[in-house]
Each structure stands twice: as structure tokens, then as C-alpha cells.
């Protein structure tokens, strides 16, 4: 029994150390450790659409942190599209962005049926949680809102990727973020959909020195660089979750 526990602990230690070791070898340009981009859940509809040669329509629904003020072209959705096109050159990929400023998950979810009708996406990337955290929406209400939103999308035959909050060290003492992160993780698990852990990834970049997210810069340079990196990581995440790299080889 003791040996078994000891073994487990050692295993845990090894697993924890492995990605760190890899990150050290890589250049410090916003690498993301593999475990932050792993997902057990798959994007079956995206994979099927690609296989049958249909165009891949991606819709990003998000609040203000999915854009950079007056720099839409540099925000992560645009970068995501560029990366996807680069990696999947022979596919017909379209991406539209629906920025819903100041909308909570509940308000956002209410728009989904109509959105899917007009945009007809294969994949919806839903970034949410920030507005709810700022307004202090009850985590239970937030949970059912996210749940309803995902259910509506899945019923409409759409694959979903959830994107959680940004890591924002400067406002950490003012907003209680963990309940919203936990809730999103739980709901994603329940619906078996991939969760892109933007929070953990950004924190990793901050801790490893890739970006100084404490910086109070007034320019858009940092925001552009971070968004470019998020777009790249997200493209990798989507391709992995839909097993598109395998589809290419076949």
C-alpha cells in the first residue's frame, strides 16, 4: 500500500516535471506546454466536415477581451484564421467574429439560436466568463447559463470550444476569478467539449517571462503580441481536438 502511494507521488512528480523540462529547451517565444493544449474531448463535426470536403466555418463569439480596441486585425480571432489557413492550406476556411461587449454568459447564450441560423458555423469558439466575473454573477447562475449556451449550440449541430478568462494580475485583488474558471471547466467536462484554458496559458507566459502582464503600458504592442500567441495556440488546440493533422496525412 505504502509503496503504491509512493509510486503515485513519484509518478505525479515526473509528470509535473516533464513539461517544465520541455519548456526550458524551447525558445521563450510564447511556447505552451503540451498539457495545457491537451483535451480528451474531440471536435467530431469539424473533423467530419473537413473529411467530406465542406468548407470550415468558424464563429468566434466573445466579449471585449476577444478584440483589441481599434486593432481588430491583430486580435486573436484574426490570428487564428491566419494560422489555420497556413496549416490547412487546401481547406476552405471562413471565420466570423461576433463581439458582444458587456454581455454575460446568459445574455450571450440567448443570441445563439439566431446566430447559428444566420452564420451557419461548423465550430463556435465561445469566449466568456469575464463579464460575469466583473459583475459578480452567482456562479450557479453562470453555470446554468454556460450549460444552456452549449446545449443550444450542440442542438443546432455545432461543435463548441470554450475559451475562459484572461489572466490579469493587476486586477487580481478586485475580481474573484477562480469560481468562474472552475465552473467553465466543469461544464466543459459535462458536455465533453474542449476548453481552451486561456487563463492558465497566459499565466504560464507571465511566470516563464515571455510576457510581463503586470506592465501598465499605454500602447497596443503587448496586446498585439499576446493575441498573436493566443491565436497560434488556439489554432493548434483546434487542429489537435479535431484530429485535423491526421486527416491531412490520410
Amino acid at each position: 500500500m505504502k509503496a503504491a502511494i509512493l509510486g503515485l507521488i513519484l509518478l505525479g512528480g515526473l509528470l509535473a516535471a516533464a513539461p517544465l523540462a520541455r519548456a526550458e529547451e524551447a525558445p521563450p517565444a510564447c511556447e505552451v506546454p503540451a498539457y495545457l493544449l491537451n483535451s480528451d474531448s474531440t471536435l467530431g463535426r469539424v473533423a467530419a466536415a473537413v473529411k467530406s470536403g465542406k468548407p470550415l466555418n468558424v464563429l468566434v463569439v466573445g466579449s471585449r477581451s476577444s478584440t483589441i480596441v481599434s486593432q481588430d486585425g491583430s486580435a486573436y480571432p484574426a490570428k487564428l484564421l491566419a494560422m489555420l489557413k497556413e496549416k490547412l492550406a487546401q481547406l476552405n476556411i471562413n471565420l466570423s467574429v461576433e463581439i458582444q461587449i458587456g454581455k454575460t454568459a446568459e445574455e450571450s447564450a440567448a443570441t445563439f439560436v439566431k446566430l447559428v441560423e444566420t452564420k451557419n458555423p461548423t465550430l463556435v469558439i465561445w469566449q466568456t466568463g469575464t463579464v460575469d466575473a466583473i459583475r459578480g454573477v452567482d456562479p450557479d447562475d453562470f453555470r446554468s447559463a454556460v450549460d444552456e449556451g452549449i446545449t443550444a449550440l450542440q442542438k443546432a449541430g455545432v461543435d463548441v470550444v470554450l475559451v475562459n478568462l484572461q489572466y490579469s494580475p493587476r486586477t487580481e485583488t478586485m475580481t474573484s476569478v477562480p469560481p468562474y474558471l472552475d465552473t467553465m471547466r466543469v461544464v466543459a467536462q459535462q458536455h465533453d467539449i474542449p476548453l481552451f484554458d486561456r487563463f492558465a496559458i497566459m499565466r504560464h507566459w507571465n511566470d516563464s517571462g515571455d510576457f510581463d502582464l503586470f506592465s501598465s503600458t499605454h500602447g497596443a504592442e503587448l496586446a498585439k503580441r499576446v493575441h498573436a500567441c493566443i491565436g497560434r495556440a488556439l489554432s493548434k488546440f483546434v487542429i489537435d481536438a479535431a484530429h485535423l493533422d491526421h486527416a491531412q496525412q490520410n
Binding site: Q71, Q166, T171, E172, M174, S216, H227
Partner: protein, 408 residues
């Protein structure tokens, strides 16, 4: 092995006649230092947890199980409040004891408002200087500054509470109901505990909550958390005594230990997502989310297990309790309200220093944490020195505060 559940002062239960009240109070002899020790520890941990991103926060118990310092703080507060004011109620009656409790409530309220002012100052300062396009959205948290007429009033009626300022409002509400709790306990202690459990169950079943401003609910739902407070009071008023046989059995010990190990492994999977595959899906579905707002049963059970094992491992007369090394912790625990407020303030100030002044290296984090703990301990020492000398003067009749307009 000493019994787990000695009464607070180690005196045997008084023999009660048939008509005696349902609660028994041990005689006051010596202070129960274990309570002070763990409340002091809870205060240190709350401080460390409130400093975001802190390396030392890895030492805090919330990273090793379900419950955290809040549970310790509320339980011990219930225990000591019942002990102090329960005695007052038996000796001076309901009205006097209630009046004393209300005075305490007022002190806590003033402390809360004071902390809110400091929070306002910090947020206003940051809002005026921080302009990072990456965080345009997150800056929305400061929008409440645009409507001071509404938010400040909502803060005064405890409906608007910034992050990290949720414990005191909970404490205020719990203390408001303490006269009722004690009065019921005087009648039938076990029934009171049962009623408290019923309220807890009803709260869960009907999803009761106190609304907050601008929306949402109280982060710590008083209708759930009262269970821990009442349980603390029940233990103080003889319940711990009655549980002693159950608590000292080997079976209890093993169950508690097994549960703590289980909780430890579950929390391990939170910190190392790579271990997530070890967690069965059905268990996750059943267990998550573990609500802090409503004091999840898993958290409550985790606290009970922790308390049972602690009480068992640390006897009341554990020698280090008198050592100089634990003195800072014990002193902090003895002046919990002052030190709690100071801790919240220091967490704000520490975060401020880290983000605005010094840069955010791990070494600075460590130094800020250490400085905070030293300041808290130093302050606790000053307060107890002041109280000691003030008590002495009062006995001699020197410096009567009433002549200067009343004491606080």
C-alpha cells in the same frame, strides 16, 4: 492519549439538576491556547491566500484539501463567541449579553467600513494609472467608481462587497443571530444544532441566498455557513464533551485520515492537470463543483476530519503551546478582529507594492509575505501589551476613558 474533547478550560462538567439549563459551561481557569493557536494560523493563512500568486500560499491548507482557513476561522469564532457570551447570558441574562454582542457587531461593522475605504483608495489609484489595451475589459471592474452615490451606500448596507472582503459581512450576520442561537442553546443545545442543520439543508434544497449588489449573491452564504458557527458554539457549550467517546475511537481516526488522504489526492489533480486522467469521470460528475459559497458538505466534512485529527494529535497541554516560537501565532489568534483587518489591509498593500512599486519577483513575494506576518505579529504583541497595561491602570482607576468621552 488525552481525551479529544476536553471542555475549554479542562474542568469537569458541573453536576446539573433536572431543571438546569441544557448547556454546561466549564469553569474559567486557563485560556484554551489551541483555539488561539489555530485562529492565529487561520489569520496568517487568510493573509497569504489573499496575496495573489504567492509562493508561500503553497503552504496554506486549501492546496491540500477541500476546506481552507475560512472554515477554521468561522468555527473557532463560533466556539469562542458562544463561550464568552454564553457565560454572560447565564450570569447576567439575555438582555445584557445581547447588548454586549451588539456592541461587538458594531465594532466588526466599523472595521469592515474601514477596510472598504482602503479598498476604494487602492482601486481609485490603480484606475487612474493603469491603461493596458490588453485588459480593457478587465478594467471594467473599476466602473463602480463612476457611481459612488450608489456603490458606497450599497457597501454600507453590506450588499456591495469587493473581493476578499466577504468574511466580515458573514461574521456580522452570524454575530447578529448569536443572541438567538445562545438563547435556543440554553433551552436545548442539541435541538439548536439540529435546527441549524435543517436550515442548512433547506438552504441547499431551495437554493436560498442573500442578494448582493450589483447582482449575484453573497459570496459566503450566511444561511449555509451558520452551520459551522452553530456547530462551534455547540462544541463550546458541552457538545465537544458529549462527542468525546466517538471522537476518541480508532475507527473515527481512520475514517478521518482516509478522507483527508482522498481529499489530498483530489486536490493534487487540480494543481497538476496532467494527473486528471486518474480521476474517474463519474466521481467528478458527482463531486464538482465543490461550492464554497454554500459550504459544500465535502468541505464541512473535510474541516471536521481535520479538526478531529488535530485535536487528537495536539493535547491541550501540548508543551510547545507555551513556547516562545508559537507565541506570535497565539497572540494573533487572541486579537483576531484587529489582526484579521490588518491582514486584509496588508494583503491590499502587499499586492500594491508588488504591482506598482517593486516588481513581481518570487523573492519580493516572499519578502512581502514575511513582512506582512511580522507586522501582524508585532501588532498583536502591541495590542496585548496595551490591554495588559490598560487593565492594570483601570484597576488603579487611572485614565478613565469615560471622562474623555467614553471608551471603545
Amino acid at each position: 492519549m488525552t481525551s479529544v474533547a476536553e471542555p475549554i478550560a479542562g474542568a469537569p462538567r458541573t453536576k446539573t439538576a433536572a431543571a438546569a439549563p441544557a448547556i454546561t459551561l466549564p469553569a474559567v481557569s486557563e485560556r484554551e491556547l489551541r483555539l488561539d493557536l489555530f485562529r492565529g494560523l487561520a489569520l496568517w493563512l487568510i493573509f497569504l491566500d489573499h496575496l495573489p500568486n504567492n509562493i508561500l500560499a503553497w503552504l496554506t491548507i486549501r492546496n491540500y484539501g477541500f476546506s481552507d482557513a475560512t472554515e477554521i476561522f468561522i468555527f473557532i469564532s463560533g466556539y469562542t463567541a458562544a463561550f464568552v457570551y454564553g457565560r454572560a447570558m447565564l450570569q447576567s441574562g439575555f438582555v445584557i449579553a445581547s447588548a454586549r454582542i451588539m456592541r461587538r457587531v458594531w465594532q466588526i461593522y466599523v472595521a469592515h467600513v474601514f477596510l472598504f475605504t482602503i479598498f476604494l483608495a487602492e482601486v481609485s489609484y490603480v484606475a487612474a494609472r493603469f491603461e493596458n489595451p490588453l485588459y480593457t475589459e478587465e478594467m471594467g471592474i473599476m466602473d463602480f467608481l463612476k457611481q459612488p452615490d450608489v456603490t458606497i451606500i450599497q457597501a454600507l448596507i453590506l450588499r456591495f462587497r469587493p473581493v476578499n472582503m466577504d468574511v466580515l459581512p458573514l461574521y456580522i450576520v452570524l454575530m447578529l443571530f448569536l443572541p438567538l442561537i445562545l438563547w435556543l442553546m440554553k433551552w436545548r443545545a442539541d435541538v439548536t444544532l439540529l435546527l441549524s442543520a435543517v436550515l442548512y439543508a433547506v438552504t441547499w434544497h431551495f437554493d436560498l441566498y442573500l442578494s448582493a449588489y450589483p447582482n449575484g449573491a453573497w459570496f459566503f452564504n450566511p444561511m449555509s455557513w451558520q452551520l459551522l458557527f452553530v456547530f462551534g458554539a455547540w462544541c463550546a457549550l458541552g457538545g465537544a464533551n458529549r462527542m468525546s467517546r466517538v471522537m476518541s475511537s480508532r475507527l473515527t481516526l481512520w475514517i478521518c485520515a482516509a478522507y483527508l488522504v482522498f481529499a489530498f489526492f483530489v486536490t493534487l489533480t487540480w494543481h497538476f492537470p496532467q494527473l486528471g486522467f486518474l480521476m474517474p469521470r463519474w466521481l467528478e460528475k458527482w463531486m464538482y463543483p465543490i461550492s464554497k459559497t454554500d459550504l459544500d458538505v465535502l468541505r464541512f466534512a473535510h474541516f471536521l476530519a481535520l479538526a478531529a485529527i488535530t485535536v487528537r494529535l495536539l493535547p491541550k497541554d501540548w508543551p510547545p503551546l507555551k513556547s516562545a516560537w508559537l507565541r506570535p501565532l497565539i497572540l494573533c489568534g487572541q486579537h483576531s478582529l484587529e489582526i484579521f483587518c490588518l491582514g486584509v489591509f496588508l494583503a491590499f498593500a502587499g499586492h500594491f507594492v508588488l504591482t506598482e512599486v517593486s516588481g513581481n519577483s518570487p523573492i519580493m513575494h516572499f519578502l512581502v509575505s514575511l513582512a506582512g506576518i511580522l507586522i501582524m505579529s508585532g501588532m498583536a504583541w502591541v495590542i496585548s501589551w496595551y490591554k495588559r497595561s490598560a487593565d492594570k491602570d483601570a484597576k488603579k482607576g487611572i485614565g478613565n476613558a469615560d471622562m474623555a468621552g467614553g471608551s471603545l
